[in-house]
Symmetry: C2
Subunit: 185 residues, 2 copies
């Protein structure tokens, strides 16, 4: 099974009005997605943020659970947070993933607005192919990544769909569902 | 397709030490699970809490988005929150579901610790059978529901599994994955 990486992108993303913004790091995104990543065997979960103070904040959230109070309080939470790495850019995440996996990962874009993307079944089969390259899944915060992030990707994954036309899942829910579709038993 | 209902249970649940507790309502649980419920065509999402002050809190979270600032700010969030109903007990949730669906729902228990439950494939087929009764999925907060809640259920759904032995998803992630497995396209 190919190595899988997850990257939570805070810039460049759009807000509800379509303006390009840098979103704030949310501690619950870190916790929820780390636990989902750990469940589905993700090798590393990158928090990608260009602002040093925001990266420091993310580090403090993680250190609290890794070294302080949280370590004794909830070891399963710590175990998940050990997957988290905090980086400034997507390039940094790719370089770190390459160092871990030995090969540059394919960059996989996810969005609720993708109209003709690679199917989950096809992406899952790709990851299960012996000798397949690693993959790095990008998840957008805010109201999703800007088109330039899609342009940087090797693969556009299809949007998650249920039986309705509502497509406004939280990034925590969408990340969990994507990992389950690609790696669930 | 049978009507599907979701119920988030705050009592009786256990804490990390296995003690029976009443957990607090979390506004993010309401938001995330309402959006997932809306995506997957759930008919109503019940917040079940025995303490009146906690039910008032949940109501204030929802009213903020339904009637005040939030209504203009984010109509998609409002649309999801319209599914939420706040009740004191599981019996109240079942009665309300029965009133909506016309038939008493099957109560479906979910847990990360279920060892031999009904498979997701079987449960999905059951919901897709013409004339099937509605189903009400119980999600536990804290470290999960007490055994008495499993005893009240008509069906124990199998635990979510990935390729690892880690089984500590957030209730927000687990709820999203369960709905996707039962109703995703």
């Amino acid at each position: 099974m190919a190595d899988l990486f997850l990257a939570l992108i805070h810039y460049p993303v759009v807000n509800r009005n379509g303006q390009v913004v840098t979103s704030a790091i949310t501690s619950l995104d870190i916790h929820d997605l780390a636990r989902s990543a750990r469940t589905y065997g993700v090798r590393a979960f990158f928090i990608v943020h260009p602002i040093p103070e925001q990266r420091e904040f993310a580090k403090s959230v993680i250190d609290h659970w890794r070294f302080d109070f949280g370590r004794a309080f909830d070891s399963r939470r710590r175990e998940a947070l050990e997957l988290v790495r905090i980086v400034a850019t997507l390039d940094d995440a790719c370089a770190a993933a390459q160092e871990t996996a030995g090969v540059r990962p394919l960059i996989v874009h996810t969005s609720a607005r993708t109209e003709r993307g690679e199917s989950f079944a096809s992406m899952r089969a790709r990851l299960e192919t012996p000798g397949a390259p690693p993959a790095l899944l990008m998840l957008g915060t805010g109201f999703g990544m800007t088109p330039e992030m899609a342009a940087r990707a090797d693969i556009l994954l299809e949007a998650i769909a249920g039986p309705t036309d509502y497509n406004h899942l939280s990034v925590r829910a969408a990340g969990a569902i994507i990992l389950d579709r690609l790696r669930g038993r």
